[in-house]
C-alpha cells in the first residue's frame, strides 16, 4: 500500500493521515444529521425538569404566576456584513424572535463574543453599535455578557452568542384545527437573497429582512394559535416542522406566497429552491378561519405583503399547489449549493 504514496515526479506533497470520528459540516446545517447529533447530545444530558417546550424555539417554566421563557443561540454567518445588516443584527433579532414566537415579551439578553486575533476593531464596534441601537429602539436591554479572543485562524473573525429571557401570560401553543388558515408575515427569502447576492457578488436592491418580531406578534397574539419564525431552513423547514408537530397536513397555494421579483430571479439564476431560503424577520402563524382576516389586517400594518398562504387539513405532509399540480414540499437538507451548469 505504501508504495502508492511514493512520488516519482517529486510533485506529491506529504499525505494526510486519516482521522476518524470527526464532526462533519452537515451535522450543523439543520437537516436530519443535525437532529441526530442533537438527540445524541440530549441523551448524554438527559436530566428531567419542570421546564416545558424544550423541543421548541424557547423553553418555558411557570414562575411567579407567569411563564418564564428562555432561549440561546450562537451566530456565525458569511459574510458578516451584508445588504441591510450585519451579524450583530441577526444575533439580536434571532434571540428576540425565538422568545416572541412563544408569545413572550423579551425582558433582556446576554451577549457574548468569540473574536479572532486580528479582526478589525472598526468592524467589531460597528457590529456592537448595531446591537446597541436595536436594544435601545426595541427596549430589550443587554444585561450580561462575555468576550474571548482566540488566536488568528482559530475562528473566522467573530462568533456571537446571545441568550434571552422573556415572560408570557400564555405560551402560543394552542392545538390546530382543520380549516385553520396559514399566514406569512411578509415577503419570503429576502435575508437569504441578500446573503447570496453578497457571496456571489451580484448586485441587488434586496436587503435582509432581519428585524425583531415582538411588536408584530404582540399585535396578534390573542388571535393566533401558534407562530414560528422562518429562519435557516426557510419556509420549507418551518412549515414541515409545524405540520409534523401538530399531526396535520398543510395545503399551501404557491401563487399566494409573497416573493419579491428579485428574490425569485436570483433563485432561478443560481438554481436554488426558494422555499429553502433563509429569513430573519418573518414568521408563519396559524389562526382560525374566523380570526384570519383580522390577523392579516393587523400584520399588514407592519408589512404590506402579509397574507394567507394556505390551510390546515387532516393528514400529514406539506402539500404545495403549483400552477401545474400538487407537490409534496420536503424538509430541506444540507447546505444551499448553487447548481453547477
Amino acid at each position: 500500500m505504501d508504495d502508492k504514496k511514493e512520488c516519482l515526479t517529486g510533485n506529491c506533497p506529504t499525505p494526510i493521515e486519516a482521522d476518524v470520528g470527526s464532526i462533519r459540516l452537515s451535522e450543523g446545517s439543520g437537516g436530519r444529521e443535525m437532529q441526530e447529533l442533537i438527540s445524541q447530545i440530549r441523551s448524554k444530558l438527559g436530566a428531567e425538569s419542570d421546564w416545558k417546550n424544550t423541543q421548541d424555539d424557547a423553553a418555558s417554566i411557570d414562575f411567579a404566576g407567569k411563564k418564564l421563557v428562555f432561549t440561546s443561540d450562537s451566530y456565525v454567518v458569511t459574510p458578516i456584513f451584508f445588504p441591510g445588516g450585519n451579524i450583530g443584527k441577526i444575533a439580536f433579532c434571532g434571540t428576540v424572535n425565538d422568545l416572541a414566537v412563544m408569545g413572550a415579551r423579551p425582558l433582556g439578553l446576554s451577549l457574548s463574543f468569540v473574536l479572532e486575533e486580528g479582526f478589525s476593531k472598526k468592524d467589531f464596534f460597528s457590529i456592537v453599535e448595531t446591537i446597541g441601537e436595536l436594544s435601545k429602539k426595541h427596549g430589550v436591554p443587554i444585561v450580561t455578557g462575555d468576550t474571548k479572543v482566540v488566536e488568528h485562524g482559530s475562528v473566522d473573525k467573530i462568533i456571537i452568542n446571545t441568550s434571552g429571557v422573556g415572560s408570557a401570560e400564555i405560551i402560543l401553543d394552542e392545538p390546530l384545527e382543520v380549516g385553520d388558515q396559514i399566514i406569512v408575515s411578509g415577503g419570503i427569502g429576502e435575508h437569504g437573497t441578500a446573503l447570496l447576492a453578497r457571496r456571489f457578488e451580484l448586485e441587488t436592491l434586496i436587503e435582509t429582512d432581519s428585524k425583531p418580531l415582538w411588536d408584530e406578534i404582540n399585535s396578534v397574539r390573542g388571535l393566533i394559535r401558534q407562530a414560528k419564525d422562518v429562519t435557516r431552513g426557510g419556509l420549507a423547514a418551518i412549515l414541515n416542522e409545524i405540520a409534523e408537530k401538530n399531526g396535520k397536513q398543510f395545503l399551501i397555494n404557491e401563487e399566494k406566497i409573497p416573493i419579491e421579483h428579485e428574490v425569485r430571479a436570483l433563485t432561478e439564476v443560481l438554481g436554488i429552491e426558494l422555499y429553502n431560503l433563509a429569513c430573519e424577520g418573518r414568521f408563519v402563524c396559524i389562526a382560525s378561519h374566523k380570526n384570519s382576516d383580522e390577523v392579516v389586517q393587523k400584520l399588514k400594518q407592519f408589512n404590506k405583503h402579509a397574507c394567507v398562504v394556505g390551510e390546515v387539513l387532516d393528514g400529514k405532509n406539506v402539500i404545495v399547489q403549483t400552477r401545474f399540480g400538487k407537490k409534496v414540499l420536503n424538509m430541506p437538507h444540507g447546505n444551499i449549493v448553487p447548481r453547477i451548469c
Binding site: M1, D3, K4, K5, E6, C7, L8, T9, N11, C12, P13, T14, P15, I16, E17, A18, D19, V20, S22, I23, R24, L25, S26, G31, R32, E33, R199, F200, E201, E268, G271, I272, E273, N317, I319, T322, R323, F324, G325, K326, K327, V328, N330, H333, G334, N335, V337, P338, R339, I340, C341
Partner: protein, 337 residues
C-alpha cells in the same frame, strides 16, 4: 399555457408511446418541481438525460480528486462535488480529516493560488470558467464533459424520439451545432420556466408527428446561432478535446477536455498519486442506468432507503438542482405517502 396542454393532449391521442429526453438536469428540476410529468398524457414520456455534471463524473475521476486531497494537494471545486461518494470516501470526509478542499463558485476565488488544483466538472456551461483559471496558471484536474457526443450515443440506444436540448449549454455553444450533429430526431432548445418546457414538449410532439427532423431554438432571448464567441475562443485557446469516461456510459470519444498546457494538467502533474487507484461503484447502485435514462430513480432499490441526500451512495443523489435522484427525492414524493 392551457392551449399548449390541450394541444399536447390532442397530438398525443393518435400517437403511440413517445420518448422525449430532457438532457439537462436543470430541466429535470423544473419538470419535477411543477409536476409536469403528471399533467402529460400517459403515452408521452419525459426521460431525464445525463445533464448533471456531478452524476456523469466517473468514479475514477472522483477517486483521483480524493486521492489528491488526501495526498495533501490543495483542491478547489464546486459545492456539490465534495459530497459525491468515491470508492472509499468523499471529498467532504477528506476535508473533515484535514484535507484542504475549498468550495468555490467563481474562478476569481482562487486566482493567485497557483498551488491549488481546480477539480473541474460540468458541461460547456462551466468550461469558460475553467479556461479562465488555466489562463491564470491554475492547475486543473479536468473532468469536463461535452454534451453533443453523448447525445449521439443516447439517441440510438434509448430509442429517443425527440430531445429537449439544454438551455445553458446552448448559450455557450450556440444553436447551430445541434443541427450539425445529424441525429435523426427533432430537437428543441428550451428555457427553464415550466411554461417553456410544456411548450417545448408541444413543439416536439408536432415535429415528431410530422416526421420533421430539425432544431427549433425556443430560447432565442439568450441562445444565438454561433453561441458565445468569446467563451468559445477562450476554451479553444486553453483546452483540447479528449476521450472521456462517463459514469454509466463508458468512454465516449471526443467528449472531454484537457488543458493544452501539460504543465497545468493535474492528471499529468500528479500521475503517480493515481497509479494504484482501483475504482468501484457502490454495489447495486443504478446511477449508471439512471444517467442514460434507462431506469427511473425509484426503480433503484437503494432510493430513499440507504441512499438519501444526507448520505448519498450514488452520484445522482447528490445535486438537488441537477441530479435525477436528489430531485426525485425532493419533489417526487407521492401525495399518498
Amino acid at each position: 399555457m392551457n392551449e399548449y396542454i390541450e394541444k399536447i393532449n390532442t397530438l398525443a391521442r393518435d400517437m403511440g408511446e413517445v420518448k422525449i429526453m430532457e438532457v439537462c438536469g436543470g430541466h429535470t428540476n423544473t419538470i419535477m418541481r411543477y409536476g409536469i410529468r403528471d399533467i402529460l398524457p400517459a403515452n408521452i414520456k419525459l426521460i431525464s438525460g445525463p445533464g448533471c455534471p456531478v452524476c456523469v463524473t466517473s468514479q475514477y475521476d472522483i477517486d483521483c480528486a480524493i486521492e489528491l486531497a488526501l495526498g495533501g494537494v490543495k483542491l478547489a471545486t464546486y459545492g456539490d462535488m465534495i459530497h459525491v461518494p468515491g470508492t472509499k470516501t468523499s471529498l467532504l470526509d477528506a476535508r473533515a480529516r484535514g484535507a484542504d478542499v475549498k468550495v468555490i463558485y467563481s474562478a476569481d476565488q482562487i486566482v493567485g493560488e497557483k498551488d491549488r488544483v481546480f477539480f473541474a466538472v460540468g458541461f460547456e456551461t462551466t468550461t469558460p470558467m475553467t479556461a479562465t483559471m488555466l489562463k491564470n496558471n491554475i492547475p486543473v484536474f479536468c473532468a469536463h464533459k461535452l454534451i453533443p457526443p453523448a447525445m449521439k450515443i443516447l439517441v440510438g440506444e434509448m430509442n429517443i424520439q425527440g430531445f429537449i436540448d439544454p438551455g445553458h449549454v446552448s448559450t455557450i455553444i450556440g444553436s447551430d451545432i445541434w443541427g450539425e450533429l445529424n441525429i435523426p430526431v427533432p430537437q428543441v432548445i428550451s428555457g427553464f420556466k415550466p411554461e417553456a418546457l410544456v411548450r417545448a414538449t408541444c413543439i416536439l410532439l408536432e415535429l415528431i408527428k410530422n416526421k420533421e427532423v430539425k432544431v427549433v431554438n425556443d430560447y432565442p432571448e439568450v441562445v444565438f446561432g454561433k453561441g458565445n464567441l468569446l467563451a468559445k475562443k477562450l476554451i479553444e485557446e486553453t483546452m483540447k478535446p479528449v476521450d472521456a469516461e462517463w459514469r454509466g456510459m463508458g468512454v465516449i470519444p471526443g467528449s472531454g477536455l484537457a488543458p493544452r498546457n501539460e504543465l497545468l494538467d493535474a492528471r499529468i502533474i500528479y500521475k503517480d498519486l493515481f497509479k494504484n487507484i482501483v475504482s468501484r461503484e457502490y454495489p447495486g447502485c443504478r446511477c449508471g442506468e439512471i444517467v442514460r435514462g434507462m431506469v427511473e430513480p425509484r426503480e433503484c432499490p437503494f432510493f430513499g432507503t440507504v441512499c438519501t441526500p444526507e448520505n448519498p451512495q450514488g452520484a445522482c443523489m447528490v445535486s438537488e438542482s441537477e441530479g435525477a435522484c436528489a430531485i426525485a427525492y425532493k419533489y417526487g414524493k407521492s401525495l399518498a405517502e
